[in-house]
């Protein structure tokens, strides 16, 4: 068999020596140190998680294997087998099952955790049966050693028929050997691990003939997975449909007996290869730690304490760098405005730079939050959190793994929605994505702070409980509770596509690698700046234009009118300037919009000015504060500078204060619920690959906001 297979090597690879760059795919179980190896090979260090399935995007890097021989390394998502269960894992079959593709790899490096060889070899034997040139990187030899697992590498190499390189990718041990062997390894493996059962031969032969395949096992996988192979044409899928039907092919049963046969073969070949020296009856360190960290009482208390620490960091510590960024942006704007003038300069300062400032100011919070999440994932603690929370979350249609997106949502929904990718189950993932934006994100804080300061007195109970703080906490709780209840609603409405499961490896505790933590922070912050940033800046510019121009000569007329009024009333210069700005905003396109929607928002207690703020909030919620600060800059006392004073001075038609508690709370509730974030909608569109989800979110959340604000205002009025 071996000899014929050699001749059959798929599409007879040219020796990589003749190619400028060879393509090498890196594949392995989650937690097998695959990404560490990728980082070592390419020098482009990226994230390694302890949480199964953290690597999601297809990462590539160039490696100089030997002088004069370069290879492009593709880092594939971690998987336990070639039968993909999650979205990420499908990338693998798309890449490996299409020999005609220009991305088809020349060689596969399989990483295996030496301390857990049996399970890791399942994937290896599947890949070997596809008959691709393969090298086995036997990783984590150090861990195996401390656990008393002795591996006879020579014997393993003989049994598997491919080069086996013992290594420790974390420390870089074995990398040089791997590079040299990889550059020489052109031949396909000599051994076959799974013999196609005789009753499947007709099926396999027909598929091989139709698609011109030379490999039996690949043909078998076409029969198993043709529905999710994207490169197959509709016609071919229909043909396979008929064939599978005709041959009475039972995918589940065939797959199960294949896995059992493979494990039997692995057990057999490992008999002479692996020796476990110490019998480790004494409890492992991880287990003892788990007795505390997942304890009935302490487990939750420690988790709550950690959450408290995270929030403390995100809200208190982050405020210092945020103030610096805020002042920095303001200083740049002042500097530009003092030295230049003209409409383009206004566009730059009030549109572009202000919009950019709105993005940059959130970087400290996002960086701090993801630093914590990365540490928790790196150490393996996050897996314990999902373990402890799974039962509770399931009651609400979520999944233990929904905890990470929900916590991240408190900083920003954009990276939070992206982190839902680790959830394999379609329904659980959609529900998580749908409800995550209801968590109060940091963009809501400025709105909350201003409005609470306006109507909630600064009273202390018991000397330390601040009433304003309690209201703020109440709003966060409101966000969380509405997310949970919405999830319950969706649980009933949505039909499951597949069964949810929680079968996952429970990683051992490890020390976090700070480099990886740092890289995660950079990666997530970059995602936020790029994803949210471009939309916020674009919308800021559009809104600036809408607020700075009005139809015809409305702006000049507004200015003339106010100037006359100012002279009559004896305004100072500053008061006059403010009054002109306010009157011009009223007559701008944005003002027209505010007036148009006024009848709709009147039942909530809002006027057209708030209407403008609602419009501008669509770029990003925090724009609300800047907008109302401009709108309410009506000629008052010269020392009235804070937003709070401006709002307090605003009078309704009868001369009473406009911002009553009813109006302020109505606004608070509206901002807690409303979907006012274009960036989130864009990211949800990208993650769900459909417009249905972002649109449903927009309608649902805005509807909820409207109804809740309406009830609040009518009750408190």
């Amino acid at each position: 068999m071996a000899a014929t297979i050699q001749a059959e090597a798929p599409e007879a690879k040219k020796a990589p020596v003749h190619q400028p760059v060879a393509r090498i795919a890196l594949i392995g179980n989650p937690n097998s140190g695959k990404t560490s190896l990728f980082n070592q090979l390419t020098g482009l260090n990226q994230k390694v998680g302890n949480f199964p399935g953290v690597t999601v995007d297809k990462k590539t890097g160039i490696s100089q294997l030997t002088p004069g021989f370069k290879a492009q390394i593709i880092d594939l998502p971690g998987t336990y087998s070639l039968y993909p269960k999650s979205l990420d894992e499908r990338i693998i079959i798309d890449l490996l099952y299409d020999p005609a593709s220009k991305h088809y790899p020349d060689l596969v490096i399989v990483t295996a955790d030496a301390s857990n060889l049996k399970r890791n070899l399942l994937l290896f034997t599947q890949l070997a049966d596809l008959n691709m040139p393969t090298v086995l990187a036997l990783n984590m030899m150090d861990v195996a050693e401390t656990e008393g697992v002795k591996i006879d590498v020579e014997a393993l190499q003989r049994e598997l028929g491919v080069p086996v390189i013992p290594m420790n990718a974390r420390k870089g041990v074995g990398i040089a050997a791997l590079k040299i062997v990889t550059s020489q390894q052109l031949a396909s493996p000599g051994a076959t691990f799974f013999q196609i059962p005789a009753d499947l031969r007709p099926l396999v032969d027909q598929i091989k003939e139709r698609f011109g395949l030379r490999n039996d096992y690949l043909a078998l996988h076409y029969a198993h997975q043709y529905k999710s192979l994207r490169f197959l044409s509709e016609e071919n899928k229909v043909w396979l449909d008929h064939l599978v039907e005709k041959e009475g092919f039972r995918s589940n049963a065939v797959q199960a007996s294949e896995t059992i046969a493979r494990y039997a073969r692995i057990n057999e070949l490992l008999l002479d290869v692996v020796r476990v020296e110490k019998v480790k009856e004494e409890e492992k360190f991880s287990n003892r730690l788990d007795q505390v960290l997942t304890h009935k009482v302490f487990g939750y208390l420690i988790f709550l304490a950690l959450l408290f620490l995270v929030f403390q960091a995100v809200f208190a510590w982050a405020s210092y760098p945020m103030d610096l960024i805020d002042q920095g942006i303001a200083a740049i704007n002042t500097l530009i405005q003092e030295n230049f003038s003209g409409p383009l300069i206004n566009l730059l300062t009030e549109g572009v730079i202000a919009g950019l400032g709105g993005v940059l100011i959130f970087i400290p919070q996002i960086a701090i939050l993801f630093a914590f999440i990365a540490i928790l994932e790196e150490t393996g603690y996050m897996a314990r959190v999902t373990f402890m929370m799974d039962k509770i979350m399931r009651k609400f249609g979520l999944n233990g793994k929904s905890v990470v997106p929900l916590i991240s949502g408190v900083a920003c929904a954009v990276p939070a929605v992206m982190s839902a990718r680790t959830i394999e189950n379609w329904k659980d993932r959609m529900i998580t994505i749908f409800v995550t934006p209801l968590m109060s994100c940091s963009a809501r804080i400025p709105v909350y702070t201003v409005l609470i300061a306006l109507v909630v007195p600064e009273v202390y109970y018991f000397g330390f409980l601040n009433l304003q703080g309690i209201v703020l906490m109440g709003l966060y709780l409101l966000g969380f509770v509405s997310a949970i209840l919405s999830a319950m609603l969706l649980k009933v409405l949505l039909k499951a596509r597949e069964r949810s499961y929680f079968i996952m490896e429970f990683p051992v505790y490890k020390m976090p690698r700070w480099k990886n933590v740092g890289l995660t922070i950079i990666e997530k912050t970059k995602a936020f700046v790029l994803e949210a940033g471009k939309i916020i800046v674009a919308v800021s510019i559009i809104l600036w234009v809408m607020a700075s121009y009005g139809p015809g000569d409305s702006f000049e007329r507004a200015e003339q009118r106010v100037q006359a009024e100012a002279q009559a009333k004896g305004y100072t210069q500053t008061q006059t300037e403010n009054a002109v700005a306010a009157a011009q905003l009223e007559s701008s396109y944005a003002g027209m919009f505010g007036r148009t929607i006024e009848p709709v928002i009147k039942p909530l207690g809002y006027d057209w000015k708030i209407g403008i703020a609602l419009l501008t909030s669509f770029a990003a919620r925090e724009v609300f504060v800047g907008t109302i600060s401009t709108i309410y800059s009506i000629g008052e006392e010269e020392n009235v500078t804070t937003i709070k004073d401006k709002l307090l001075a605003e009078k309704d038609a009868d001369g009473n204060p406009f911002f009553t508690p009813a109006r302020a709370f109505s606004l608070l509730i509206f901002y807690a619920f409303a979907m006012q974030c274009m960036s989130t909608l864009a990211v949800v569109r990208r993650e769900t690959k459909s417009w249905t989800w972002p649109l449903a979110q927009l309608v649902y959340m805005s509807g909820l906001a409207y109804v809740a604000a309406f009830i609040t205002f009518q009750l408190m009025k």
């Binding site: 336990y80 087998s81 039968y83 269960k85 301390s115 857990n116 049996k118 399970r119 399942l122 656990e147 589940n252 049963a253 797959q255 199960a256 007996s257 896995t259 059992i260 494990y263 039997a264 991880s286 287990n287 788990d290 007795q291 997942t294 304890h295 009935k296 009482v297 487990g299 939750y300 897996a383 373990f387 402890m388 799974d390 039962k391 509770i392 233990g400 069964r499 499961y501 929680f502 079968i503 996952m504 490896e505 429970f506 051992v508």
Partner: protein
């Protein structure tokens, strides 16, 4: 090996029924769909399992199989039948 649930299995002990620290040998998996995932993770008939721990609310649980720790829900544990001793 992989079987559908049937009457003759009624009353047979599953991983769900194990106590913490208890060991057993996998006899068969009675849910064909869940079996695929469990087999991949090394829950092969004839393999020894040990119930390692339970989540604070009793579900999910962790088991030790093939020298590593695997977490799964009680509903999934119920599909792993144990050999009679």
């Amino acid at each position: 090996m992989v079987q559908n649930s049937s009457e003759d299995q009624q009353g047979q002990k599953t991983v769900r029924d194990m106590k913490i620290g208890e060991r057993g040998e996998i006899c068969c998996l009675n849910d064909p769909e869940m079996a695929l995932k469990l087999l991949e993770m090394g829950c092969i008939p004839g393999t020894e399992v040990k119930l390692n721990s339970k989540a604070p609310l009793g579900d999910p649980i962790t088991i030790i199989v093939n020298d590593y720790t695997l977490s799964l829900r009680l509903d999934e544990a119920e599909t792993i039948l144990l050999k009679k001793r």
